[in-house]
């Protein structure tokens, strides 16, 4: 019942957005802007630039909303535009290096201990990762992309995607460990 109501609600909102109703556009923006911003900022950790991408994303959404056919949920459709806009921006900004550097990456995760870090800390530490592994890690962990999808999306091989993901995880784990040491 609730799902049906939500669907109807989205449907009305979409129809009104197509007609250029600014109230409906604002409603759609209010509903999805927060989540989209976090998707962006995790890959592009600079607030001003992330806000610009958020802006571009919704401008595209309002322009393209007529082409939304309901194959995916509205949120997923907007998310796709959001991710594509972010990746396009990142590519323009500077080429993303996906080659693995020979670093001393020691993975120290224990299988028995629980993760003792807050959502906030992990979020902030992800933002500090190098661009290549940050993007792959975000797409894989947060956006549910498979390595195959990531490889197609970033024009890299599947194995590179996997390596970047592993690298990102190790770096993140190391960052969290050193943070723990700093705090005593």
């Amino acid at each position: 019942m609730l799902k049906a109501e939500r669907k109807d609600d989205d449907q009305i909102m979409i129809e009104q957005c197509i007609k250029g109703n600014s109230l409906a556009q604002k409603k759609l923006y209010d509903k999805y802007s927060q989540a989209m911003y976090h998707t962006i900022i995790r890959m592009l950790p600079f607030p001003n630039e992330a806000e610009d991408i958020l802006q571009d994303t919704f401008i595209k959404v309002f322009r393209k909303i007529e082409s939304y056919r309901g194959q995916a949920t509205l949120g997923a459709w907007i998310k796709k535009i959001c991710i594509n806009t972010t990746l396009k921006y990142l590519r323009k900004q500077s080429p993303i290096a996906y080659g693995i550097e020979e670093e001393n990456l020691n993975y120290v995760e224990s299988t028995k201990t629980e993760l003792r870090y807050s959502v906030n800390t992990i979020h902030e530490e992800i933002k500090k990762l190098p661009k290549g592994s940050r993007v792959v890690l975000n797409l894989y962990l947060f956006e549910g992309y498979t390595h195959k999808e990531i490889s197609a999306c970033l024009n890299i091989s599947e194995s590179t995607s996997k390596s970047q993901y592993q690298r990102g995880r190790i770096l993140l784990q190391n960052q969290l460990k050193s943070l723990q040491h700093e705090r005593g």
Binding site: S22, Q34, Y37, P47, I122, H123
Partner: protein, 177 residues
């Protein structure tokens, strides 16, 4: 196989990961509104400007064409100085005779054949004018035009004489009665 606890942690707290930061959503919204409105109005202004430009160009083109046509006609008649005097003289003669005929209230039905001849000359004149526009004021065309005026002048002269004759005869008839 090692459990991916990071992934699990993120999955469990997925919504919280989207609530950490506070972007300036109102500012971004204002920017979106201003940009989408600009996009909406820009094409309208563009279309308006294009429409006005087209209208102006059309007006300019038409008026220029008409002016050129008038100029062409005038130029064809007066451009060559060697023909200018002769042309003016002939035209003056024809115009004077036309004015005289008009002042005498000559009825067309009384001189049907002569007026038919004048109509034919009018048609010829329009052909000559077309030729002027096509070929310019060549010597041959100028001579044709002069011949046309001379012929027209003669016919108008005949008309005036015929009318004089008719008036004279009417006067004699009146006296005899």
């Amino acid at each position: 196989m090692r459990e991916d606890r990071l992934r699990d942690f993120i999955d469990q707290n997925r919504l919280d990961f989207d609530r950490i930061e506070s972007p300036n959503v109102d500012f971004v919204w204002k920017e979106i509104v201003s940009k989408t409105q600009k996009k909406k109005t820009k094409p309208n202004y563009l279309l308006l400007i294009i429409g006005v430009l087209f209208a102006l160009l059309a007006i300019l083109f038409i008026s220029n064409r008409k002016t050129n046509q008038k100029l062409d006609r005038l130029e064809h008649y007066v451009l060559d100085s060697q023909y200018k005097t002769e042309h003016e003289q002939l035209l003056k003669t024809v115009t004077e005779k036309e004015n005289e005929i008009l002042s005498q209230n000559i009825k067309e039905e009384d001189y049907k054949e002569i007026f038919e001849e004048l109509d034919e000359l009018e048609r010829n004149q329009s052909f000559i004018e077309e030729d002027f526009q096509t070929y310019g004021n060549t010597d041959e065309l100028m001579r044709t035009l002069f011949k046309h005026y001379e012929r027209k002048s003669k016919i108008l002269e005949i008309l005036l004489l015929e009318n004089e004759k008719r008036k004279y005869n009417a006067h004699i008839d009146h006296r005899e009665i």
